[in-house]
């Protein structure tokens, strides 16, 4: 009896694992390696919610991309690298042309997928995270850290601090403390900060915070001893509100704390309460529902009861809007690829790679998309897989994020040589022969 039961259960498991949901031929499949549980669920649910809602909007309002409907399937990664790889493998052959593009939304998973996706010819878009030196497209043909990578962002931050101090020459002799999440993600900006410290003559102290970062007493005591002029907060998840509360405890002014975009969402500031007031964070997208694209989503998706967000008040929040940026770039890249490889037909991952590499979202296009001022314009090329490098700075007033600057450019004179050096080292380690970008079309 028992044996029979076991066999039947086993078969059922095998059948479910093997069963493929039906997708029809004229659709564009996008596999989503999302996460909605665990310590970073706020980021995952907001960003994937925004991405899915934008794709629903394109389907509902425009009838797809030149008539090609977008379809997608989610797979829960729990922000775990091994699960991320499993999800990637599960999703990659689904749909009529396989998975078009991967958004790992985790620096760790991005690292784990670089080799696999390159071999499978599926592009990775690591929008605002992931491997910085992948910006050099000659070494990383299938990886796109679009809009802005961590190093570009960091130079923009120092520029912002220079502006606040009244000129870059005023940075001399200033003290900056870099409080970072002790992981691959957090460590990524240490070399570029050191280079800038030498160039502008300020001193920088790197203070690590162990994952997940809900205990920061000793770090902020160190801040109190150093008495820095500015603190750079490179946090993620629960580390951010804890940092703001600890700063309030030692009386460090929050107006002098500048966060990365993974520190600058409502989910980071609201739990810190009044301690967050005045905190400044960089961002390649802004908060707010007052943009035509978000209004369209409310009109075409939510008004019909099809929205992905369980908590509708999060539409227009920082993470949600970042998901919409993911959506806009994905859809525009598919459109670009269709223009070359045949309108109205689903494209393959390889064609998608071409589409992303020739993506050109200029100011005019942004206006047409209803995203003017919502995200920076960008133009991707073979050698530049970032395409923009611009960020805006927002300040938390206790209730919402307010934009306080225009788009600030990165200092490519610092970043680019470092990227090329690092990418060349990677190419040497892995035995990759970089392609010649002047011959690419």
């Amino acid at each position: 009896m028992k044996l029979k039961k076991t066999v039947i259960t086993g078969l059922a498991i095998a059948a479910t694992l093997g069963a493929a949901p039906a997708f029809s031929a004229g659709e564009q499949f996008i596999g989503l390696t999302s996460y909605r549980v665990g310590p970073y669920a706020a980021g995952g649910s907001g960003i994937f919610g925004g991405l899915i809602d934008y794709m629903s909007l394109v389907n509902a309002r425009d009838g797809g991309i030149n008539g090609v409907k977008l379809v997608w399937e989610e797979c829960e990664t729990e922000y775990n690298n091994a699960r991320g790889v499993e999800c990637y493998e599960r999703l990659k052959t689904k749909g009529p042309t396989g998975n078009t593009v991967v958004h790992p939304l985790s620096t760790g998973i991005t690292y784990s997928l670089i080799d696999k996706a390159t071999a499978d010819k599926i592009p990775i878009i690591s929008l605002g995270y992931g491997r910085t030196d992948a910006t050099d497209g000659s070494v990383f043909p299938y990886v796109f850290p679009l809009v802005t990578n961590y190093w570009s962002q960091n130079t923009a931050k120092i520029k912002f601090i220079g502006m606040k101090e009244g000129g870059m020459d005023k940075l001399k002799g200033k003290k900056i403390v870099n409080i970072y999440h002790d992981s691959a993600y957090g460590k990524e900006t240490i070399p570029v900060l050191d280079v800038q410290a030498k160039k502008y003559g300020f001193s920088v102290t790197h203070v690590p915070v162990a994952h997940p970062g809900n205990e920061q007493q000793s770090q902020w005591l160190q801040v109190r001893q150093i008495k820095p002029d500015w603190v750079i907060l490179r946090g993620w998840g629960v580390m951010n509100p804890t940092a703001l509360k600890s700063a309030a405890k030692i009386g460090f002014p929050r107006e002098k704390i500048v966060g990365v975009w993974w520190s600058g969402a409502e989910e980071d500031t609201i739990p810190a309460g009044s301690a967050a007031k005045g905190f400044i964070a960089a961002g390649f997208n802004v908060a707010g529902a007052n943009y035509p694209v978000i209004k369209d989503i409310q009109k075409f998706v939510y008004a019909k009861g099809n929205g992905n967000m369980e908590d509708k008040s999060r539409v227009g929040s920082v993470y949600y809007n970042r998901g919409v940026v993911h959506g806009i770039l994905t859809v525009e890249a598919i459109r670009t690829a269709q223009e070359k490889f045949g309108k109205g037909k689903p494209i393959t991952g390889e064609q998608m790679r071409w589409g992303i590499e020739h993506l050109n979202v200029d100011a005019k296009k942004l206006k047409a998309l209803g995203a003017e001022g919502f995200m920076p314009d960008l133009k991707v090329t073979c050698s530049d897989h970032e395409g923009s490098g611009k960020v805006k700075f927002q300040q938390w007033d206790g209730k919402k994020w307010n934009v306080i600057t225009d788009w600030i450019d990165a200092d490519q004179s610092i970043v680019r040589p470092m990227i090329e050096e690092s990418a060349a080292k990677y190419a040497k380690e892995k035995g990759i022969k970089p392609r010649d970008c002047s011959k690419e079309s």
Binding site: T16, N81, Y111, S112
Partner: protein
């Protein structure tokens, strides 16, 4: 009726001491091995081989390592992931810094894995030293130190990651006798061979004098000492062997599964997962390590696929993911209540029932 050893006589000690003394067991194991070696690579598609079977095998090996230490020698450890990290980074650095390895360069990768294992064993011995004085939960806390120290050291000293700016390592290509092991089938077989060989070694080790000494220490270390077992030697050997297994598993995890790993990936979470594997699978059982690893790795994936197939679109995605997690936790508790000695014990009970079948009285 089928499963009965009546009539199988053992005429020598040698015959009596075989791993599988019963003929039916031998046939069954041969069939299982034949299935995994010959049938699976043919029928398994890329997804099954790359994303399901390889991680299950690798985690089985890690669980086996922990089972040697916890299940057989009775030393509780929370540092499994750290030993895996030591193995992964050891193998990476061996490949990186020994470009012209003089002997047997065709199988350099195997030496790298052995080196990774030895590095892990070294770390294991160092953090095993406190086990001579402290026991049980207190020892678990001491091995917790290994967990944090190793990850910290790998992040802090960038020499280990060849000065990569973010501290990650990207594993070199696996090449055996000049043939790159890069197809899903060859990679699966490569992992399978290593895991089979090590599992066989482990099975024999726990049946030998070494294994009996471990079990004696586990059951009562004072008594073991009285009958002449050297505690220092036995405990540290258990730590070394266990860490070696975990180290090789870590190297396989980096080289044959993920490709690129960061130290942070080998966190306490992973140590706990492997501990759960042996608790669910069966403490003190080689088979249990495999069953437990399969359970812990496959069940969440199965739940995720199941929910997508059945409730696609009907439940909000966030609720679905949380439900999966709850059911997973619930099932763990269920299994522990039904059979506190793990899945391996269930298997054993099944075998005993089969012996009596079809006449249970």
């Amino acid at each position: 009726m089928l499963y009965r050893e009546a009539g199988q006589f053992k005429a020598s000690y040698r015959e009596d001491q075989q791993i599988f003394p019963i003929r039916q067991d031998k046939i069954a194991i041969a069939l299982i091995l034949a299935f995994f070696y010959l049938v699976v690579p043919v029928i398994g598609d890329q997804y099954w081989l790359k994303a399901i079977l390889v991680p299950v095998l690798i985690f089985s090996l890690a669980a086996l390592g922990l089972n040697i230490l916890t299940g057989y020698a009775g030393q509780l450890s929370l540092g499994t992931a750290a030993f895996m990290a030591a193995g992964a980074f050891g193998a990476f650095n061996f490949m990186l810094r020994m470009p012209d390895f003089p002997v047997f360069s065709e199988v350099k990768i195997l030496f790298a894995f052995i080196f990774g294992g030895l590095m892990a064993a070294l770390v294991g011995i160092v953090f095993g030293l406190p086990s001579l004085r402290i026991k049980g939960f207190y020892l678990a806390v001491a091995t917790l130190a290994a967990q944090f120290f190793v990850v910290w050291a790998l992040t802090k000293f960038s020499w280990f990651s060849n000065y990569s700016s973010s501290g990650v390592i990207s594993a070199q290509d696996v090449v055996l006798f000049g043939v790159p092991i890069d197809t899903p089938e060859s990679r699966y077989l490569f992992v399978l061979v290593i895991v089979t060989v090590l599992a066989l070694l482990a099975k024999n080790m726990v049946r030998s004098a070494t294994g009996r000494a471990w079990m004696a220490v586990r059951d009562m270390d004072v008594a073991a000492e009285v009958i002449g077992i050297r505690l220092l030697h036995t405990k540290l050997l258990a730590f070394a062997v266990s860490s070696f297994y975990c180290g090789v598993a870590g190297a396989l995890y980096a080289f044959c599964y993920l490709g690129t790993v960061e130290p942070e990936g080998f966190n306490l979470d992973m140590s706990f997962r492997i501990l759960f594997m042996i608790i669910i699978g069966g403490v003190g059982s080689v088979l249990g390590s495999f069953l437990g690893a399969a359970f812990i790795v496959l069940l969440p994936i199965f739940l995720n696929v199941f929910f997508h197939a059945v409730f696609a679109g009907a439940v909000p995605a966030g609720l679905g993911s949380n439900l999966e997690l709850m059911i997973f936790g619930g099932l763990i508790i269920f299994f522990l209540i039904v059979e506190p000695h793990g899945l391996a014990r269930l298997w054993q009970i099944g075998k005993e029932k089969l012996r009596l079948w079809p006449f249970p009285h």
